[in-house]
């Protein structure tokens, strides 16, 4: 029995149902055209997060700051899923989430963190995020969220 790679969803052999074997990985076949926003100041993380959201079928924009994210939304952009890093340069992750909720954003918002600091989760949740996840942004936890949004 070959060992599975830790952290990877098992590959599905058939292409039945809503799972698509794309190059051997279990990326979802979504019915809806979902739109995503990534807010992360770290370039490397931003590139990877945007890419993985795309692999999972989400048309994604990525911005570096909370201010830029808020500006996008103020200009009328709407998103199905917003992923916000905890640490942003001026407006923090929680502050960004709070502002979005105040603006009437009802999208699913995920607070993302690289390292856990005491009180972060509470702060993010109090600001109105739906969930709080540790980096990296991985299909393992992203796909179930997308399936939910797709229904």
């Amino acid at each position: 029995m070959t060992p599975a790679i830790e952290g990877m969803a098992p590959a599905v052999e058939s292409s039945e149902g809503s799972n698509k074997m794309s190059k051997g990985y279990q990326y979802p076949s979504l019915k809806k055209k979902l739109r995503g926003l990534v807010v992360d100041n770290a370039e490397l993380c931003r590139i990877v997060e945007k890419g993985i959201m795309g692999l999972c079928g989400v048309e994604t924009q990525a911005v570096e700051t909370g201010e830029a994210a808020v500006e996008l939304i103020a200009s009328g952009a709407t998103f199905d899923l917003i992923v916000i890093d905890r640490f942003l340069p001026s407006m923090t992750g929680p502050q960004t989430a709070r502002k979005m909720r105040e603006m009437g954003v009802e999208s699913k918002i995920i607070g993302l963190f690289a390292s856990y600091f005491e009180g972060d989760e509470e702060e993010f949740v109090a600001a109105g995020v739906d969930d709080f996840k540790e980096k990296p942004l991985s299909p393992n936890w992203l796909v179930p969220i997308l399936r939910e949004l797709d229904n």
């Binding site: 098992p10 794309s22 490397l44 993380c45 990877v48 980096k135």
Partner: protein, 154 residues
Amino acid sequence: MEVGQMQRRLAEYTKSLFMEGILDAQFLQLQQLQDESNPDFVVEVVTLFFDDSEKLLNDIARALDQQCVDFKKIDAHVHQLKGSSSSVGAQRVKNACVAFRNFCEEQNAEGSLRCLQQVKQEYNLVKNKLETLFRLEQQIVAAGGSVPMIESSF
């Protein structure tokens, strides 16, 4: 060495990196992001990781060298390194960062220095391994072959 042999050697080498825990599944995601429109994605992202990491490791070393060590600043650097290493799948670097944080929290300079050495070691290891991986890929391409897509189960 003919292309088929080179491809097998690359597959074995890549597999070993996962088996040794140097890379985790996140790295496979990077490979998935590479295609005709983005043919050098992995090398580009990994190069960014190398540049980021080297800067962060230098910043941490400098901070630990100060008369009055700013552990908050060091923690912030380690946090960033943890984020980027986890994003590319550099598992052992990420784990070394987790250990490092505990010493920062305790404001333990000696422990932090030891941790820094540990992180540097893991970083140099993954850097070395990935550079070898890219070299093996280049050899295959130079010989007219294509780099095989990694399989999901070994």
